[in-house]
Amino acid sequence: MNIETKVEKKQVTKTESDKPALVFRDAGIKRGERIIWQHGDFSIPSGSITAIVGTNGAGKTTMMKAELGLLPLFTGSLTVLGGAAGTTNHLIGYVPQNYDSDIESNLTAEQSVLLGLTGTRFGIHPTTRAQRAQAREAMAFTGVDDKRHYRLSELSGGLRQRVAIAQALVSGPKLLMLDEPLANLDLAAQREMVHVLAKLNHEMGMTIQVVAHDLNMLLPILDGAVYLLDGHPHYAKMNEVLDANLLTHLYSTKVQVVTTPQGDMFVTPGPDEPDDVTPDIHKPDEVAGFHHHHGKHPPIENIHHDSHVTHEQPRYFEKKISSETGRDTQRTDRNGGNQRQEAGL
């Protein structure tokens, strides 16, 4: 009897994981009277890592808020993990962009993670040993177990970000949503963060969505990207989005795609640099540490190839692209300590 139930459950889980994690159907969102974006019509497969990219103000964070059901659509529908947006939030781990206020927090890392497990419960519930063990497990996964008694204010930005991810993980979500997880981190911390995300995806099969300015760091682990362009969100698998013309248009600044033995790199030449200068890119040994996602989960990829991705050639490929609008580099290069060669994306 017991065994039967188990088998049944497993089948259910399998069917669910074959479904796309997110389905946008003619979705659009307004803030006040202004349309932020509309005509969002795509699906994001389960078990994938997707970036949400676009310039400042294109509605990247708004998209996450819509997926969480915190902002209503004015048109269309949005299904998340099989339910209407907002109805499945217990299955979502959300890591908002970190703000300066966290820097003052005297809370310990462990307390912060525990809130992800117990914070929504009304009434008196002393923290159980099992809950503590769960919190420690999540912290061990993101590599901050040894920091659990430290206050958040004593941790570096990268470690705080990993505590925040542990907090999102502790309740066992199926979908992890991170808003600018690499912002304000130095290169080493960015790399560690990418490593944590890759591990989550590999070992737990978690669907991950990342709002990002800088795609370079994430490139080795991304399956696809939602790019917000001209007020419309589009979804494309990675090889489709990796086009210099598209990226240049997307960021309104000249972008080159450089193919290295380790994979593709985006490069933004500075406005003061002559065009024929060889761009400074990541050294191969830096990139060697990245995870590659080739052949990671072929069955799921096959499914979304066939059914969910529109292969239609996007219309802006034909647009004439100005190659001299380097002035926006500064605006998009908010990522603090980043080197210029990876600015803007």
């Binding site: 915190l70 890591v95 908002p96 005297n106 809370l107 809130l115 992800g116 914070g119 419960r121 009304f122």
Partner: protein
């Protein structure tokens, strides 16, 4: 010709045993409990200035009540609650809008002065409302404080974790389904209550040192919310009771000593923290 008296009162033990002192000690206990718990949330929510402003918003209520012949606490409570619900309804971000809050604070204080000048009895009460008069707390007030504490603990038992989550991680809490709007209004409403019971002890001007400072000190010493609230309550209690004892020994106003002890604790903790970090 007046001169400063600074003699030691050798009968201070007898002074401490008179009935109004008993009321003051019990009131101190009630205030310390409420302020200790809410102080933590005030800091966690970055709403310390809003809490401070609430006391000043209560000022015209207090002097207006005297004008109408009503109890001071009633007028103070109604105005503080009205202000709290307004700030609460505007959202957590509103409590961080320093300029709007400061402007309302200044206007309310002016209005309080205006009301106090309209009758001589309100004018006499003005100093007590601004700087507190813990020694004049009545039996009825003490009973009111105790009832408030019981209510506060009952509400806290229900909303403790969601309130904590929404205070520390509002965006995540919201995504997880915590009703952050309700939590915000609830926090501000409770804060108005705490202000109403703490003003008789130290007055509207010095209330920061009683509600926020002990919680800030506790945050330096401890790092878990529950422990911080406990430590904060103890620090607050020591400040109030210490203030009562010292003011029985020396001819100083209790409010001054209470605020001084609270500030000294904070200074020592800050100093120790600075040394520790070296």
């Amino acid at each position: 010709m007046s001169y400063i008296q600074f003699g030691f009162n050798h009968e201070w033990l007898e002074t401490l045993s008179v009935p109004f002192m008993h009321n003051a000690f019990i009131a101190g206990l009630c205030i310390a409990l409420a302020a200790g718990v809410m102080g933590y949330f005030t800091i966690a929510r970055h709403s310390t200035f809003a809490a401070h402003a609430l006391a000043h918003i209560g000022l015209p209520g207090a002097t207006g009540a005297v004008l109408l012949g009503l109890p001071v606490s009633l007028g103070l409570g109604i105005f503080a609650l009205g202000g709290a619900l307004t700030i609460g309804a505007l959202g957590k971000k509103a409590s961080q809008r320093e300029i709007a809050t400061g402007t309302v604070l200044a206007f309310a204080t002016g209005l309080g002065l205006f009301f106090s000048r309209m009758s001589s009895s309100a004018s006499q009460q003005m100093q007590a409302i601004l700087f507190g008069s813990i020694l004049t707390i009545t039996n009825d007030q003490v009973l009111g404080f105790a009832i408030f504490d019981v209510l506060l603990l009952a509400v806290m038992a229900v909303v403790y974790r969601p309130l904590l989550f929404s205070s520390l991680d509002e965006q995540v809490a919201q995504a997880k389904g915590v009703p952050i709007g309700v939590m915000n209004v609830l926090f501000m409403a409770i804060m108005a209550g705490v202000i109403t019971i703490a003003v008789p002890a130290v007055g509207t001007l010095l209330i920061f040192a009683l509600v926020v400072t002990p919680a800030a000190t506790a945050n330096i010493i401890t790092s878990t919310p529950l422990r911080s609230m406990t430590v904060s309550s103890v620090l607050c209690l020591v400040s109030i009771w210490g203030g009562l004892v010292v003011s029985a020994m020396f001819p100083t106003p209790p409010s001054f000593v209470i605020v001084t002890i609270s500030t000294l604790f904070w200074l020592v903790a800050k100093g120790a923290e600075a040394l520790h970090r070296r």
